[in-house]
């Protein structure tokens, strides 16, 4: 019994010292484990995986999210909504602009899953990928 207890305490990582003035708490959204994270932008406590550490470091600078939506396609068989997602995560603050761009896009065919689409002008363009198969 004693040995087991010893093992447990060993496995649990010591929290790293954080800069208390800058430290912020987040709940990780990378996976359903929803780890409670605390970071000052340099060190991260509470993450059970490296993805969680990267998430916390990004979250404190500027949160990024993958946007998913649909693009209207008027095909010969009727209107179809083509599901798409951004190929990169985009800053939350840019979501309204990104949605405006994608709403202006109209298709006339059903692109295959994995097809890349581009919206917006070259300086502020966003890349999308088709995520579904439609009939």
């Amino acid at each position: 019994m004693e040995k087991q207890a010893e093992k447990k305490t060993k496995r649990k990582k010591e929290p790293k010292p954080l800069n208390k003035d800058k430290a912020k708490r987040y709940t990780c959204i990378v996976c359903p484990a929803c780890c409670d994270l605390e970071t000052d932008g340099v060190e991260v406590n509470g993450a059970r995986c490296p993805k969680g550490e990267a998430f916390a470091k990004q979250e404190i600078i500027a949160p990024l999210r993958v946007i998913t939506t649909t693009v209207r396609s008027e095909t010969s068989k009727g209107v179809r909504m083509v599901p798409v997602k951004t190929t990169c995560a985009v800053p939350i603050a840019l979501i309204p602009e990104v949605m405006k761009q994608v709403k202006a896009l109209h298709l006339s065919e059903i692109p295959a899953i994995g097809t890349m689409l581009k919206t917006g002008s070259s300086s502020k363009s966003v890349e999308w990928v088709v995520t579904g198969e439609l009939d």
Partner: protein
């Protein structure tokens, strides 16, 4: 699909999959958001991508598929009656697996007084309207219940230009996953009111608002809105068994969300494959 894949991998030869829709994949086909597949495929996918990817595995299993086939009867003698565009058919089997998923609880299953105007939807129905048919069912929306589909739809409706005023939850804690509250509500400034009970729905032809009570303080209030989305729980769909008066067992099985509500599709897949393998290796 997962049960068929599991059974096929364990050597079962004659498998028939009946699907009432034209396409396999069930509810995944309307889940365009990310958050699927981290456990099964070790990669974050949308629901539609997950369905497509799993379908590829399924195709390799060489299972006979009948889409547009609606099963309307199961008998205790393990006979299945279904209708499809070619007519009505009866097949008998050693094993029958119900993988029929869940239905959503509706407003009628709660006891909320008020009128019965247009503008009341379950969150999943709204999801189908927006993501499959391109129809946004309202402008000023209140979500009742904090289940995952409600949270996902709060974000989806916001992206489509609707104003989501609040999510009301009767319990003192969130029903859905915390990650969904963060990325669907907090990111968009949508308030979540816990311990809040909807006490009345108002409106003649269309929803005009709701009355609600803060059960922590007892204070009542009104909120104007034109649309209500209910995300108040899922019920495993087992009407075929109930109609037949049959319990699971003796070659009749229930898989996936029809068995119990899973948080993640990844677990639905793994459970289904496990059940399939047990059938293939001669288990009951």
């Amino acid at each position: 699909m997962a049960v068929a894949v599991g059974a096929s991998s364990a050597g079962l030869k004659r498998i028939l999959l009946l699907e009432r829709h034209p396409r396999l994949g069930g509810i995944l086909n309307q889940c365009i958001h990310v958050g699927f597949g981290l456990r099964y495929f070790k990669e974050e996918l949308t629901g539609t991508e997950y369905a497509s990817r799993y379908n590829k595995l399924f195709q390799q299993a060489g299972v006979e598929v009948q889409t547009r086939s609606f099963v309307h009867k199961i008998s205790p003698r393990k006979e299945v009656t279904f209708v499809c565009p070619r007519g009505e058919f009866l097949v008998s089997a050693d094993h029958i697996v119900l993988a029929t998923g869940c239905r959503e609880r509706t407003r009628e299953m709660l006891t909320i007084p008020g009128t019965r105007p247009a503008g009341i939807f379950t969150a999943g129905l709204a999801q189908e309207m927006v993501n499959i048919h391109g129809l946004v069912p309202g402008k000023n929306v209140v979500v009742i219940g904090s289940g995952d589909i409600g949270l996902i739809m709060a974000r989806r409706m916001t992206l489509e230009g609707a104003k989501v005023l609040a999510v009301l939850e009767i319990l003192d804690h969130l029903s859905g996953l915390v990650r969904n509250k963060i990325q669907c509500l907090d990111d968009f400034g949508i308030p979540l009111y816990l311990s809040h009970e909807t006490t009345q729905i108002m409106g003649e032809d269309r929803v005009e608002g709701i009355r609600y009570r803060d059960n922590a303080t007892g204070k009542e209030n009104e909120m104007a809105c034109d649309t209500l989305l209910f995300s108040v729980g899922l019920i495993p769909e087992r009407d075929l068994l109930i109609d037949a008066g049959v319990e699971p067992g003796n070659g009749i099985h229930v898989a996936g969300n029809a068995d119990y509500v899973h948080d993640l599709v990844d677990w639905v897949t793994k459970d289904g494959e496990k059940l399939g393998r047990s059938l293939g290796s001669g288990g009951d």
